[in-house]
């Protein structure tokens, strides 16, 4: 029982992490049909911005709880600044191009942003452990767990609920649904599709940055750590279905829990589980588990 509880908590914790880092990717693909490789750079920039701000706050004796505020401020700032610059200056000029060219463009953006990180922050690691240290630990299932990682569940639920509410209960959500369904008809109906794209891209960038910013207190924020996140996020999004938020949620849960079982019982299969699940899903449902229905064009 102790082992099952531990595996479940570990799995849910990892699934929450996966969902937070991958939901921005799936939103951008769902609306804009862009496989955004620069997502890993948003994650890295979010982490660096949060770590830098939290370090600055600690140096200036700000209260420890201010770290939580700074995480969200850093993520929003990174999302707005990078999202606006990239969408307005690069992507907007490429929407008429083939999808593969846009993927290559986002890959180029990713590489540039990674190098800019080196220029701005250097090669030494940044730490922002204060929020994690503040929340301390709790004994659950016979072992000690850090409370900060448990708050990932709450953040994942909040993000999932926010996305559901935003898409299904707001005017913006309805506009998004229309644009997702048919861009041309949306334009003909007078919807400002360019603005919808800009807001969507900023939202996706902010969620990517939030993933990095929230993870920053638990890691060493160092150059190059945005690369793995792209691979993991793609795996989760492909399992759930490109562009599907419920799909990202289910994909994260599947990978998180199966990975936890593997680490505890068959550690040599840890990596295999993530991509094994992806391959199995693609064999049965090539479009992913919850891929949105596509309109049949005549």
């Amino acid at each position: 029982m102790q082992l099952i509880t531990t595996m479940l908590l570990d799995g849910l914790s990892y699934a929450s992490y996966l969902f937070i880092v991958s939901v921005g990717l799936t939103i951008i693909f769902g609306v804009m049909k862009i496989l955004n490789v620069a997502h890993g750079a948003f994650y890295a920039w979010g982490a660096y911005a949060a770590a830098y701000a939290i370090g600055l706050a600690a140096d200036n004796d700000w209260p420890d709880w201010s770290g939580f505020v700074l995480i969200f401020v850093a993520a929003i700032l990174v999302g707005i600044v990078l999202g606006t610059i990239i969408e307005r200056l690069i992507l907007r000029k490429m929407y008429h191009e083939e999808e593969v060219l846009i993927v290559l463009a986002t890959f180029g953006i990713f590489l540039i942003l990674e190098d800019v990180i080196l220029l701005v922050f250097g090669v030494n690691p940044y730490f922002a452990y204060q929020p994690m240290a503040l929340l301390g630990s709790v004994k659950m299932g016979g072992i000690i767990r850090d409370v900060y990682s448990l708050t990932l569940f709450g953040l994942a639920i909040l993000v999932a609920f926010g996305c559901w509410y935003g898409l299904n209960r707001t005017k913006w959500g309805k506009l998004l649904s229309v644009v997702i369904f048919d861009r041309e008809i949306s334009l003909a109906m007078g919807i400002n599709v360019q603005m919808v794209y800009l807001v969507t891209f900023i939202l996706g960038a902010t969620l990517g940055a939030l993933g990095g910013a929230y993870i920053a207190p638990t890691i060493s924020v160092a150059p190059g750590f945005g690369i793995d996140v792209i691979v993991l996020s793609f795996a989760v999004v492909v399992i759930g279905g490109m562009g599907s938020i419920p799909g990202a949620l289910i994909g994260s849960l599947m990978v998180g829990i199966l990975r936890a079982i593997a680490v505890h019982k068959f550690p040599e299969f840890e990596l295999f589980v993530v991509f094994g699940v992806m391959a199995a899903v693609l064999m049965i449902r090539p479009e992913g588990l919850f891929a949105p229905e596509k309109a049949r064009r005549i």
């Binding site: 190098d115 240290a133 000690i144 060493s220 160092a222 690369i227 680490v263």
Partner: protein
């Protein structure tokens, strides 16, 4: 007429032959400057803990040698009198890129030698190319024993001992210090370095303490995974108290941060073979009581060693880079120093500027007092270095407000490396016969 022509041709051939013989055995044409390629990680996750400290260590010592300001007995300026012009290249980007960079250094830029390299993967990729291009190459950091145990090398040397000694010394240290611990496990990165480090630690423990139980569930997460919550849970549930890790850079830092808040270090005795950079980067956040190694007489373990060369290195490094030198700083500095000693010795013997062959002959089997301690190229027919490897226990020094280590113990090369001519894995499997501890 024809007789004179024959005489002329004969004399020309004889003179040419004599000149060729002189060139082959005598000194080379003297140079004011030598160009040397120096490879280390300048970007990516390994730049902060390894690449940049390594580059800095090389740069500091090259400048001192060029200026003739290195302490005795190395105060003579230059490399056989020539100044070194280092060409720093980035080791990031994978083996194919590194082979291309290496060929570029040798074939297009015409360097006199190549030094450096951190990753075992890069060393394995570069070594055959160095042999093919016949270019003197001195490896500085990489640990895999395969570089010299799989084949004899002519042009490649390594001034750092291979990684098997790190694992053997780790096992010997914990058995010396923590005799009552019954059981061990590990968390190591899932690639050659991590797998080999744990494998050799595991074999040594089985040979030296057969009653100590090995865990059925050692962990091998992906390199740069960053998230170790599940692995920490698994290790926490494991009854084994000793936890071996060869994590480095961001991975050891993330692991420490995540494990610390869960009280992991109060319950487990962690042995880290190469986590020295994290002790400095995390400062007082790094837990006390961790068994820490630095792969030799380097970094944290010798920071306060009272020897002139070490004191010079630590003080000058700190003055120039505002940080203490880490293990890679020492390792790169040691490679540069070995190259200088070999060039100076070869020049003296040849009576002029040495050729590459003369420098290699001087380098072969060289023993020298390096910045942290003595190093000897005594394995692989004089191409592979050995030196003592030590461990200590981390402790935050409240007075100095900096990390320190206590209970430092070094193990002599004869105790932790297979004798010349034997493969490490075979020697370990046979129970380390002839080990002199």
């Amino acid at each position: 007429m024809s007789s004179n022509l024959f005489k002329l041709v004969g004399r020309t051939v004889l003179a040419g032959g004599a000149l060729a013989a002189m060139v082959a055995t005598g000194p080379a044409i003297a140079k004011d400057t030598i160009n040397v390629g120096i490879a280390s990680f300048l970007t990516g996750p390994a730049a902060g803990p390894f690449g940049v400290p390594g580059r800095n260590g090389a740069e500091l010592v090259i400048d001192a040698i060029n200026a003739g300001t290195l302490p005795a007995p190395y105060a003579k300026a230059g490399f056989a009198g020539a100044k070194m012009n280092p060409i720093f290249v980035d080791e990031s980007g994978g083996n194919a890129k590194q082979v291309g960079e290496y060929r570029n250094l040798v074939e297009k830029r015409g360097v006199d030698a190549v030094l450096g390299y951190i990753s075992s993967g890069t060393c394995m990729a570069i070594t055959p190319v160095a042999e093919e291009l016949k270019k003197l190459t001195v490896l500085s950091v990489c640990g895999t024993p395969r570089v010299f145990e799989e084949s004899n090398r002519t042009y490649v040397f390594r001034t750092q001992a291979h990684a098997v000694g790190d694992s053997i010394a780790a096992a010997r240290y914990v058995l010396d210090k923590f005799k009552d611990q019954k059981g061990y496990t590990g968390i190591n990165q899932n690639y050659a370095w991590g797998q080999d480090s744990y494998k050799f630690f595991d074999i040594t423990m089985k040979k030296l303490a057969a009653d100590t139980k090995a865990s059925d569930n050692p962990q091998f997460p992906k390199i740069f995974a960053g998230q170790y919550g599940t692995e920490i849970s698994t290790l926490s549930l494991d009854p084994a108290k000793l936890v071996h890790t060869s994590f480095w850079g961001g991975d050891i830092e993330a692991f420490v941060l995540q494990a610390l808040v869960r009280g992991f270090f109060k319950d487990k005795q962690v042995i880290s073979s190469v986590g020295g950079s994290a002790v400095d980067s995390l400062g007082k956040k790094f837990p006390d009581g961790v068994v820490m190694g630095t792969r030799g007489e380097y970094g944290l373990l010798v920071r306060n060693k009272d020897e002139p060369l070490n004191k010079w290195f630590v003080n000058e490094y700190k003055k120039r880079y505002n940080a203490y030198p880490l293990g890679p700083s020492y390792q790169y500095a040691s490679s540069v120093l070995a190259y200088k000693i070999a060039m100076d010795a070869a020049a003296e013997k040849a009576g002029g500027f040495p050729t590459q062959d003369q420098t290699m002959a001087a380098l072969k089997g060289l023993s020298w007092q390096s910045f942290g301690g003595k190093v000897s190229l005594s394995l692989a027919d004089g191409h592979q270095a050995v030196h003592p490897v030590g461990y200590g226990i981390t402790k935050w020094d409240k007075d100095k407000k900096e990390p320190s280590v206590s209970d430092v113990k070094f193990y002599a090369p004869g105790c932790i490396y297979a004798p010349a001519g034997q493969k490490s894995a075979d020697w370990l499997a046979a129970g380390m016969p002839g080990a002199k501890c």
